[in-house]
């Protein structure tokens, strides 16, 4: 497929634009609503986003294995992990809230990191990987529900609140949660599911014409 003739539908206003190959630092913006239609992505970009997503997966595992904080009042101590709050909410009958926390703090981040890593790998590798499109779409759907930076903020606010009652000591888990929040924000800059779908479609088109 000739890249000059590629057309892209603006996801901001629905207008259809012809795309052209972009140079470093360039981006194409919709003339009507200002949405960025496409921007230059370094050939190393997919590898970088794959690396960040895989780092996120490892950090997610570590963050779940370590306690976040230790709270003490008059000699009584209690520590918590991410799952502890979810289990407590379940046991107290607030399962809808527990499911919401479980989804936004664990399942959606896991799905997002995993699908972004797979879609990035599908873009970066010279040979096609099955299900690359599906992974990119899953990354797009799970991204808004992956709320690790919000969870990190909630941990800080809760520690401030608990310090009014007793003593709070941070544990290793908070470091991993902080790093996860950073990973999540960096990944949202590096990885665009829309760009990944476009890249995979172009490759499929090129392979189709070559065949």
């Amino acid at each position: 497929m000739d890249p000059v003739k590629r057309r892209e539908r603006c996801h901001g206003c629905g207008g259809v634009y012809a795309l052209r190959p972009l140079r470093r630092g360039e981006s194409l913006r919709c003339g009507r609503c200002g949405t960025i239609l496409a921007s230059f992505r370094s050939p190393m970009g997919s590898q970088a986003s794959c690396a960040v997503a895989l780092t996120g997966l490892v950090l997610l595992g570590l963050a779940n294995a370590q306690p976040i904080m230790r709270f003490s009042v008059a000699g009584n101590t209690q520590s918590n992990e991410i799952i502890t709050g979810i289990l407590v909410l379940f046991s107290q009958g607030y399962w809808p809230v527990a499911v919401l926390v479980l989804f936004c703090a664990l399942i959606a981040p896991f799905l997002h990191f995993l699908s972004a890593a797979y879609a990035s790998a599908a873009c970066a590798l010279p040979h096609p990987l099955p299900g690359g499109h599906l992974a990119a779409r899953l990354a797009s759907r799970s991204q808004p529900w992956s709320l690790l930076p919000v969870f990190a903020l909630a941990c800080i606010v809760s520690a401030v609140k608990l310090k009014m009652i007793g003593q709070v000591e941070w544990e290793a888990g908070i470091v991993y949660i902080g790093l996860l929040a950073v990973c999540s924000l960096v990944l949202s800059r590096l990885f665009s599911p829309r760009e990944a779908v476009r890249k995979l479609s172009e490759r499929r088109g090129a392979e189709g014409s070559a065949a």
Partner: protein, 174 residues
């Protein structure tokens, strides 16, 4: 450059669902903020806390910055989201303030999820607040209304497409 035709726009059939979610969100906003979301027990003293009660407590304890963050994320952001969504729906299908509406929707997507901070806060506090009469944190029914209201705003923002703002068959400018 061609503008979208209404029939070709995906998800347009969800407009009624978005309207329903916004109305439900407004209805849930009141109980979510009137009913206590948690009860904190400190050395035998039981204190039910609403969202605003928690903000007030933080402010009174000399933590105005944290109080402001919680006030913004848990009280103002959901309200701003509901009001903005209602405004977008009221102007749907018209050509008025398109640039502002598109910018508003982008902001809603950026800020929307920060209202979840109160739900996560409860989850962390409930996890460490298991020390019986010394210090315990127990969720209250208000949190169910709060979570439902948040879900309404999150789904409504997710379903409302920015393409709908530009509907009328006019062509895009190259």
């Amino acid at each position: 450059m061609n503008g979208p035709s209404p029939a070709a726009l995906p998800g347009r059939q969800h407009l009624d669902l978005v309207r329903s979610l916004v109305v439900t969100g407004f209805l849930l906003y009141l109980p979510a903020n009137i009913l206590p979301v948690m009860t904190i027990t400190i050395t035998g003293e039981v204190e039910p806390l609403t969202v605003l009660g928690g903000v007030n407590e933080l402010w009174g304890s000399g933590l105005p910055l944290v109080a402001l963050i919680v006030l913004l994320a848990s009280f103002l952001v959901p309200l701003i989201k509901l009001v903005c969504l209602a405004w977008l729906l009221a102007l749907d299908g018209t050509a008025r303030c398109r640039d502002r509406r598109a910018a508003t929707l982008k902001v809603l997507h950026q800020i929307g999820s920060w209202s979840m901070v109160d739900i996560f806060l409860l989850s962390v506090l409930a996890a460490v607040g298991q020390l019986g009469m010394m210090a315990s944190v127990v969720p209250e029914p208000g949190v169910l209304f709060f979570a439902a209201m948040l879900l309404c705003t999150l789904f409504a923002t997710d379903l409302y497409r920015s393409e709908w703002i530009w509907l009328d068959g006019q062509s895009a400018v190259s």
